[in-house]
């Protein structure tokens, strides 16, 4: 890989001072799990890396009873955090599914959220695809069995982060620090569709850092779960998955947030499923109806129609699992 300089930033201020305004020229490195792959494949050739592992790596209680997670927290630390597991089980269960043990030992929360897409055309140096400044999304007429079933393109990646999906379901906000201060962005506003931003998957600017994820206190009656469907149980990305966050009163769903993953270029909130579930008694039937609503607008590509069914199943099972019911 191309030579670069390395800055071991002692704190957020130092790290921000080392960044630049040109995309992919100076990059933050946390665990490096995604970044080293990108560099080895010549997809990015930064002139400088800034180590952000010494920034906040703690999980702390917020005054309102939620949790504030530093971006430098490793996935293994999140997995082993008892409060996080009790309060936000879907987030922790998804962290447990990432990669392999060694990847979870090194990979960070910030890195998981900001990792680049796994589309094999994007990852292959030989394909000068839309996302890399080319003229074509090769997935349209190519091998698109793992690509998006939602969204209008022009790029058809699925967003690679599974924690992102849980962040939307729990209504997380992200703190972005930049040269002129910090801003708070709702998780739902953070991720961007390719027709808004083709060259990145989120609003983070090259001179900014995602420093914290703040999860609001769980509402009374909140029950949540995630369900992933995979080919392989290790070292793979899910075919489709869903997170359900239900506010329950007895067996009645007062309100729901349903978010699907690996189906669109961003974590895909299923508003129709949420409406279909609100006010209903939770059952296999109502969960199934919500799941059907969740995939109503799907527009599969030539080789991924099967994902519509997989996503529907993931939604049904996430809802049932959240409600503590038997997953069929």
């Amino acid at each position: 890989m191309k030579a670069f300089s390395y800055v071991d930033a002692a704190n957020e201020k130092d790290a921000l001072a080392s960044l630049g305004t040109e995309r992919n020229q100076v990059l933050a490195i946390g665990g490096g799990m995604d970044l080293l792959g990108m560099m080895k494949d010549y997809l990015v050739q930064p002139v400088r890396l800034v180590n952000v592992k010494r920034l906040d790596a703690t999980i702390a209680r917020t005054p309102d009873g939620g949790l504030r997670i530093g971006s430098a927290v490793r996935l293994i630390d999140l997995i082993e955090h008892a409060d996080a597991r009790r309060m936000y089980p879907a987030l922790v269960e998804l962290a447990e599914q990432v990669g392999t043990p060694q990847i979870r030992n090194a990979g960070t929360v910030g890195g998981n959220l900001n990792q680049r897409p796994r589309c094999w055309y994007f990852r292959n140096e030989e394909f000068h695809c839309l996302k890399k400044g080319g003229a074509t999304c090769f997935s349209v007429n190519g091998e698109n069995q793992f690509h998006a079933i939602f969204g209008e393109g022009p790029c058809h990646i699925v967003h690679p982060s599974n924690l992102a999906v849980a962040c939307l379901a729990y209504g997380a906000t992200f703190r972005l620090a930049g040269p002129s201060g910090a801003r708070e962005v709702e998780a739902e506003q953070y991720f961007q569709m390719p027709d808004h931003n083709l060259y990145a998957e989120n609003v983070l600017q090259p001179n900014e850092l995602l420093t914290h994820v703040t999860l609001p206190a769980p509402m009374a009656g909140l029950k949540s779960a995630a369900y992933e469907v995979r080919f392989k149980q290790a070292h793979d990305w899910p075919l489709a998955f869903a997170t359900a966050a239900l506010v329950m009163e007895g067996q009645t769903v007062k309100s729901a947030r349903i978010v699907m993953g690996a189906v669109a270029p961003v974590p895909w909130r299923a508003n129709e499923a949420e409406r279909a579930l609100a006010g209903k008694t939770l059952s296999e039937e109502t969960a199934g109806r919500a799941a059907l609503a969740a995939v109503q607008g799907a527009q599969p590509m030539s080789r991924n129609a099967y994902k519509v069914r997989v996503a529907r199943t993931a939604v049904t099972r996430a809802i049932l699992k959240a409600g503590g019911m038997k997953v069929v």
Binding site: I29, T100, I103
Partner: protein, 161 residues
């Protein structure tokens, strides 16, 4: 960049380029070739070493500069005083290797696994080794070796190991 990494108890201070991978720091700068490079993409686990006595990491997907000031355990650091480490002995006893290429990574992952989970179930062993591929597919004997090592290391006499 000057880095100091303590490998198997010995501090190695070397001037490295920031792009030097930890795997090549160990192999070429320290001369410790027991750490193998298989896939070079964090998939296969041949390059696993233990960071700071606790954590299995893939040294092909880590820059040496990221390990500056830290401690690394490699396969060369397992045997002590001419005696095999209980994990090495168990891999030998249970025929937990065919070609041996994956074995250092398997054993170092096992060091960290047994530190966190001293009495693992078979499922926990298989999950714990999910990031280590054996191209000879000798997984059953590898699992038996980890079980034997866990049994031996749990005995009081092995507490100093």
């Amino acid at each position: 960049m000057k880095v100091t990494i303590t490998v198997n108890g010995t501090p190695y201070t070397r001037d490295v380029e920031p792009r030097t991978l930890l795997a090549y720091f160990l192999r070429e700068h320290c001369g410790l070739t027991g750490t193998h490079v298989g896939c070079d993409t964090s998939s296969c686990g041949c390059c696993v070493a233990v960071l700071d006595g606790q954590t299995a990491v893939k040294t092909c997907t880590m820059f040496a500069v990221q390990a500056d000031g830290h401690e690394i355990l490699t396969v060369e650091g397992l045997a002590a005083g001419g005696a095999l480490h209980p994990i090495q002995q168990a891999f030998s006893d249970q025929h937990g290797l065919h070609c041996g290429y994956c074995t250092p990574g398997m054993m170092l992952t096992t060091v960290a696994l047994l530190k966190h989970t001293p009495a693992p179930t078979e499922a926990q062993i298989r999950e714990g080794l999910a990031g280590n591929l054996c191209r000879c597919t000798g997984y059953n004997n590898i699992v038996k070796a980890v079980q034997q090592a866990a049994d031996v290391l749990r005995q009081p006499a092995a507490a100093t190991k």
